[in-house]
């Protein structure tokens, strides 16, 4: 690269950093004060962009349409954020953090479908900024004026935030609440409006970040997820709750990305290495490195005390004879099912069983293991691709590929898990996300080997398993055994040790338990089980795409586990059944199925903060006239 090219890439990086910083700062601010990880933050950004597009036309174009539109869009998003806080979040501040996450995720689903309904599925490219539509010459190259403006706006917003937080009473309260949550509790009446205000400000920043992108990027429906994962990365790299950290991290990541694009294809040691392809993962690699070297981010501080997970879970009870009987009856019904149903029902049932195993494997590490994973689809996908590639390219018989696929996933989990168990809480969740994104982008880009974005086709089961009935029984036995084994392990000394490490790492360590190694083993086991689900999935569909290990797939797993309730063994199975069925039925019948799903999730979260299984359990005890189960989930 020439000196002028380097300068231009550097400026490009600065321009991209501004919006990224604004979204991330909002996310960080909201998390710092309310301790809510706002999964809908990317949706607010997307909303800001769409709104500014419409407002431009509504306000008659020109400078007023553009600048007025940008500001109005940001304000509308802020008001929306405040409404969300008052109507939704206020009701769930005391719910488990994962449930809060689920609620904000559901909100994102609704926003996405509203955007689809209002603006349609086409990409919308906005106008150029009046007055800044041209380009200036820098080092012999043309550089957009608007990008210069963006470069300036980032530090301006940072400065304004800094003034707000250090020079106003409100800012002092915000900082106090960020540093000490009990302190926030002691603020009493003010607290409610403080939280509303912070949420509005965070939303404003996200909306502004989106609106300002109007001349640079088209408004698209997938922006919510891509922006939220970028923002997560920035916040985690910078340090949760640190605005300065978010700025630094946004700069770092935007610059690295910009230089990856600038470098393009480079010949290294005789092989062509594509840096531009690296942009998809480079931020996740940066995050993984930062998390391993500085677990609390660049400017973050280690949390004062490792708090326990909060909600007290009731002890694990061995299933009663009645429950066992019910389980056996269910199994018998599943075995007899193909005698009654065929075709489509069997296909749906196979899907449900596969996702039940996936969901239980995620529950295994999230619940008893206390390790929140946002990237569990990596192991599902590794199992699917492992089996598929072995069968297609390795010439391995299907039966063997089915057995070896999960092993590939376990090896992946073994490698990634080693890093993951060194962290906890949100940081752990982000690292799992990073690893799954890395796995995804390898699969997505390695056209020659994995088929790239087209995926693999023609992964068919062996002849004797080709009929739907035969495959149904294969899936039933594979998933049944997998789920049963995971449940069984939870009752074993290993399972108890895993829960011990979650309940009190301090005590576990003081009675000779090597918590990390144990969690590592648990993570790997869960990866193996998810891999089995993935391998069964591959042969049942006949083709797989990178979607099998994408973030949305991981989120599906999270939704299943949380829907069912994290405090009961059967919860994740019910969650998988309801979710898979809903997705199938609703998606088939209703155009706006995401919004319906989101609304259902929101209602369930608000009505049953303990998850479906907990609610069903309470209902059952009430119906049978018994007392509430000891310590039933509240």
């Amino acid at each position: 690269m020439t000196a002028s090219a380097i300068l231009i890439q550097f400026l490009n990086g600065l321009a991209s950093a501004s919006s990224l910083f604004m979204v991330a700062a909002g996310l960080s601010l909201i998390f710092g004060v309310t301790r809510i990880v706002n999964f809908a933050h990317g949706s607010l950004y997307m909303l800001g962009l769409y709104l500014s597009y419409s407002l431009f036309e509504l306000l008659g174009g020109g400078p007023l349409g553009f600048w007025g539109g940008v500001i109005a869009a940001a304000l509308i998003v802020a008001v929306f954020g405040a409404l969300v806080e008052v109507l939704l979040l206020r009701r769930i501040y005391h719910a488990p953090e994962l449930l809060q996450l689920l609620a904000t995720f559901a909100l994102g689903l609704i926003v996405k479908d509203v955007a689809l309904w209002v603006w349609g599925p086409e990409d919308l490219l906005g106008p150029r900024a009046p007055g800044l539509a041209g380009a200036v010459e820098i080092a012999g190259r043309r550089f957009p004026e608007y990008d210069l403006f963006l470069i300036a706006i980032g530090p301006l917003v940072l400065g304004a935030l800094w003034l707000l937080l250090t020079r106003t009473r409100w800012g002092t309260l915000v900082r106090a609440a960020t540093e000490d949550r009990e302190m926030a509790g002691a603020l009493g009446v003010n607290q409610r409006w403080l939280f509303t205000g912070v949420f509005a400000l965070g939303s404003l920043l996200a909306g502004l970040g989106g609106a300002l992108q109007l001349p640079r990027e088209p408004a698209q429906l997938f922006l919510d997820l891509s922006v939220i994962s970028d923002a997560f990365v920035v916040v985690v790299v910078g340090g949760l709750g640190s605005i300065g950290g978010a700025f630094l991290a946004a700069l770092l990541i935007a610059e690295i990305k910009s230089f990856c694009i600038g470098l393009g294809d480079v010949t290294l040691f005789g092989a062509v290495f594509s840096f531009s392809k690296l942009t998809l993962v480079v931020e996740f690699i940066v995050m993984a490195v930062v998390l391993v070297l500085r677990p609390w981010g660049l400017l973050g501080r280690a949390p004062a005390v490792a708090r326990s997970s909060g909600a007290v879970e009731p002890p694990l009870v061995l299933p009663s004879p009645k429950l066992r009987l019910a389980g056996l009856a269910m199994l018998a019904a599943l075995v007899l099912l193909p005698a009654v149903f065929s075709g489509y029902t069997l296909i749906l049932m196979i899907d449900i069983m596969i996702f039940a195993l996936f969901s239980v494997s995620l529950f295994f590490i999230m619940g008893p293991g206390g390790m929140h994973s946002f990237g569990h689809a990596a192991y599902f996908g590794l199992g699917a691709y492992g089996a598929g590639l072995l069968a297609l390219k390795g010439g391995v018989p299907m039966e063997l590929a089915l057995a070896l696929g999960p092993l590939c996933a376990a090896i992946g989990a073994l490698a990634f898990g080693w890093f993951c168990v060194r962290l906890s809480g949100v940081y752990l969740a982000m690292l799992t996300l990073a690893f799954s994104q890395i796995a995804w982008s390898i699969v997505f880009q390695w056209d020659a080997f994995t088929g790239g974005s087209n995926g693999l086709v023609g992964i068919w089961p062996a002849a004797w398993l080709a009929s739907k009935e035969a495959y149904y029984y294969l899936a039933l036995s594979g998933c049944g055994l997998g789920v049963f084994a995971l449940w069984r392990i939870l009752y074993s000394p290993f399972g108890y040790a895993l829960r011990a490490g979650r309940d009190s790492p301090l005590r576990a360590d003081a009675i000779g338990i090597d918590v990390r190694t144990l969690q590592w083993a648990g993570f790997t086991l869960a990866g193996l089980a998810a891999g089995l689900a993935g391998a069964l999935y591959a042969f049942s569909k006949g083709s797989i795409s990178p979607e099998t290990l994408s973030v949305p797939r991981s989120v599906d797993g999270l939704v299943m586990v949380l829907l069912g309730g994290i405090q009961s063994l059967t919860g994740p199975v019910w969650g998988a059944i309801v979710f898979t069925w809903l997705q199938d039925v609703v998606a088939r019948e209703i155009d706006y199925w995401r919004a319906v799903l989101g609304a259902i999730i929101l209602l369930l979260v608000l009505a049953f903060p303990g998850g479906l299984a907990g609610a069903l359990g309470r209902l059952a005890t009430r119906l049978s006239g018994g007392k509430a189960a000891p310590g039933a989930a509240t």
């Binding site: 326990s308 007290v312 879970e313 009731p314 002890p315 694990l316 061995l318 069984r488 392990i489 009752y491 074993s492 000394p493 290993f494 399972g495 108890y496 040790a497 829960r499 011990a500 979650r502 309940d503 009190s504 301090l506 005590r507 576990a508 360590d509 003081a510 009675i511 000779g512 338990i513 090597d514 144990l518 000891p630 310590g631």
Partner: protein, 229 residues
Amino acid sequence: MSQAMNPPVLRVKNLSKAYGGVQAVSDVSFEVAAGELLALIGPNGAGKTTCFNMLNGQIAADAGGIEFEGRPVRGLKPREIWRLGVGRTFQITATFSSMTVRENVQTALLSHHRRLGSLFSIATRQHVEEADALLARVGMREQAERACGVLAYGDLKRVELAVALANRPRLLLMDEPTAGMAPRERNELMQLAAELARGSNIAVLFTEHDMDVVFSRTPTASSCWPAAN
């Protein structure tokens, strides 16, 4: 009071620890022999808990030596020190809240018998008698089936003691064992501690910020605490 016939189980020499500018523990030396009950006394903030945390390997000492049964243990991890035969309780109780009282002790026993790697046996069916015997010893046998998450504070402390005894320790560290207890309960607990020391020949080291407990209730205790800083 050192008992001349017994060699010291724990020997602490010139132990120090500072947090930033705060000298939490400075130059502390003492010994505890088998069968001896020794109190570390000092007001809140004197550094007693910090001292315990160094003894069981939870935090690294800045300087000084720690010998357990003649073997230097400074630098070992808590779980390694536990395996050597050191049990401890915490000032703020640390138990497994999603387990019953008995399961807490069973988990410690499973770890002691090195069976935590077992994947398919049923944990609650292991070491039941041994767990109940330990619970009987601390007076928690009747509450064995209760969830740890719902216990009263004093009961939690006794569960913790049972857990700490699961590896048949030769040295027992109890951090403020009677804090938050009613006088009667305190009496019983200190009697139990004295019994453990004398009856089972365990070296018992406990911390206490209330002089009454030390001097009126445990006549065998002696103070080794230097003037508080």
